[in-house]
């Protein structure tokens, strides 16, 4: 048994790079990468578009220890191609999930992604489907698959569907979780439907606080690596099942959400329905006060 080396690196999760996040998340010095940048497994497709490649294709996968326990970890780099899923990028995560199943080890996915990489859209889309399938296979074998959302690129498109298959999600205020991005909705439906430049609208519709309040995420943390680390340790402590009973509970939970909030025009209406005294103050609340206000939130305990 390796001695537990606690990690006390303090940094903004939002500002950090993928590699900084992984170093701050797992126990000090415990991370070992698979197919690292020295192997130069780059996208074979970006050159067609005269775009620069990156040696790790924007994702780092490997093994480490979290509070002494072995875990597998994948972390996306939102600053390369918006953290988007291409062929190599996606296949590294698919492989890691299959390894999790083979080794019976829990897995952490540090999302930072705009979704499918359009320059290799078909390969990226299929990678999403393969990853979701591999997650369900790992979960059916009793493993935890925990998603962490708080990066610059958010968790959009196919990334958000992958997040929806995780057993638990940890999110910060800066984390955004949504299928269609603000610009996509505006482009397709017009500025009257969604003004992508209205940042306050974006945060309250897709941001971490709203997702936590409606049960779209299980833990809300500060934009701080130590907070993500603590929440990840907690998330791995209690196992989550994945069977028909869980799915039935999720069906009931999501039906209830439509009944309760289906007519809401804006997130503030939903927060008011949840019984929050001053719903328009929610975006300004610091974490402690927000968590107190969120006491009667919807949660997804055994229904995810």
């Amino acid at each position: 048994m390796t001695e537990v080396a606690a990690n006390n690196i303090s940094l903004s999760w939002y500002e950090a790079s993928a590699r900084q996040r992984i170093d701050a998340l797992v126990d000090s010095g415990s991370f070992a990468e698979f197919i690292g940048p020295e192997l130069r497994e780059m996208s074979p497709h970006l050159a067609i578009f005269d775009l620069p490649e990156q040696f790790d294709d924007g994702i780092v996968v490997g093994r480490g220890r979290l509070d002494g326990s072995p875990v597998l970890v994948a972390t996306q780099e939102g600053r390369f191609m918006g953290g988007a899923f291409g062929e190599i990028h996606g296949a590294k995560l698919t492989g890691l999930l299959r390894a999790a199943l083979a080794l019976k080890q829990d897995i952490l996915i540090l999302f930072d992604t705009g979704g499918v990489r359009l320059q290799e859209a078909n390969a990226g889309e299929l990678a999403i489907a393969e990853i979701m399938r591999a997650i369900i296979e790992a979960r059916c074998a009793g493993l935890n698959v925990v998603g962490l959302i708080g990066g610059r690129a958010g968790c959009y498109g196919g990334g958000s569907l992958i997040a929806g298959t995780c057993s638990r999600l940890i999110i910060s205020e800066q984390g955004r979780l949504s299928v269609s991005g603000p610009e996509v909705i505006e482009t397709n439906k017009g500025i009257e439907e969604f003004d992508s430049r209205d940042r306050a609208l974006v945060w309250r519709t897709m941001g971490g606080k709203h997702r936590y309040l409606i049960g779209g995420a299980d833990a809300f943390v500060d934009d701080e690596a130590l907070a993500f680390r603590g929440a990840a340790i907690d998330a791995l402590r209690d196992g989550r099942r994945c069977d028909m009973a869980v799915l039935e509970a999720e069906q009931a939970r999501l039906e209830r959400r439509l009944q309760r909030f289906g007519e809401a025009e804006d997130a503030v209406d939903i927060w008011r329905t949840l019984g929050i005294a001053d719903p328009s103050d929610v975006p300004a609340l610091p974490t402690g006060a927000f968590l107190r206000a969120a006491n009667d939130r919807e949660n997804a305990d055994d229904a995810r």
Binding site: A123, G164, K189, L258
Partner: protein, 246 residues
């Protein structure tokens, strides 16, 4: 082929399948006399929270019935519904929930077959067709991640330039042939022959591993994905043994 033509060719022994709005739901009889559940989305409609929850509920009902019969998912959709309301309500959870229902149905012993007979794109494609155990298509089907005009806007390349690049690789442009080459679609059926025996052949395939990466490599549309995934598994397994012994 219209939906009615497809259903007639698939189920000459009869079916009870209703279309309500954009939703398909019902049961049919296979040539061998066994039952099959049929559900899906039609008329090129978008898949939003309201549709996804109904489809998922139907899949859960089927699994709860304990009959372990096959499920056919018919798909002719747009993309996910792009709206403020859907995102406000957490569309990603609804789409994932539907995908999970289909994946768990398979794990519970139901064969799941997707039949793409029209369009489908992005999140709607992932949550329906791509969440089935075997995905087949009819000629003329139009799978896409994003249409070329939108792709041109995002990549800041002209449609002509994109079309020229699409000649050289199946990896990004929309279309059935490209999705076949990359391994996403198992087989394209012959619409000049009866569909019932073609469905029976798919149902006789052994159930099991996700072989889309291998198909993509064999067909030359996704040469690296399967190899990279396999290498990660091998490295993780070896390093695990080292860590245990070290």
């Amino acid at each position: 082929m219209t939906l009615d033509d497809i259903l007639a060719s698939l189920f000459p022994n009869g079916s009870r399948i209703e279309t309500t709005g954009a939703m398909i739901s019902g049961q049919a009889i296979l040539p061998d006399g066994g039952p099959i559940h049929v559900l899906g989305i039609t008329q090129g409609q978008p898949l939003g929270v309201d549709e996804a929850i109904v489809l998922a509920g139907r899949v859960i009902e089927i699994v709860k019935s304990g009959d372990r019969t096959p499920i056919l998912v018919l798909v002719d959709s747009a993309s996910q519904r792009m709206s403020k309301r859907d995102e406000l309500l957490g569309l990603s959870e609804y789409l994932s929930h539907l995908a999970k229902a289909l994946l768990l149905a398979e794990a519970e012993g139901h064969r799941t077959v997707g039949l793409l007979y029209g369009g489908s794109a992005a999140g709607a494609f992932i949550a329906t067709a791509l969440a089935t155990g075997t995905l087949v298509a009819l000629p003329g089907a139009q799978p896409a991640v994003m249409d070329l005009p939108s792709m041109a806007r995002v990549t800041k390349l002209s449609i002509d330039v994109l079309k020229a690049k699409a000649e050289a690789t199946p990896v990004f442009a929309p279309g059935l042939d490209n999705m076949v080459m990359t391994g996403g679609i198992h087989v394209v059926w012959d619409n000049n022959a009866p569909l019932a025996p073609q469905l029976a052949a798919v149902l006789q395939r052994p159930q099991g591993q996700d072989d889309r990466g291998r198909l993509g490599a064999e067909r030359g549309g996704r040469r690296k994905a399967a190899e990279i995934a396999d290498r990660v598994v091998a490295l993780a397994t070896v390093s695990h043994q080292d860590a245990q012994h070290g």
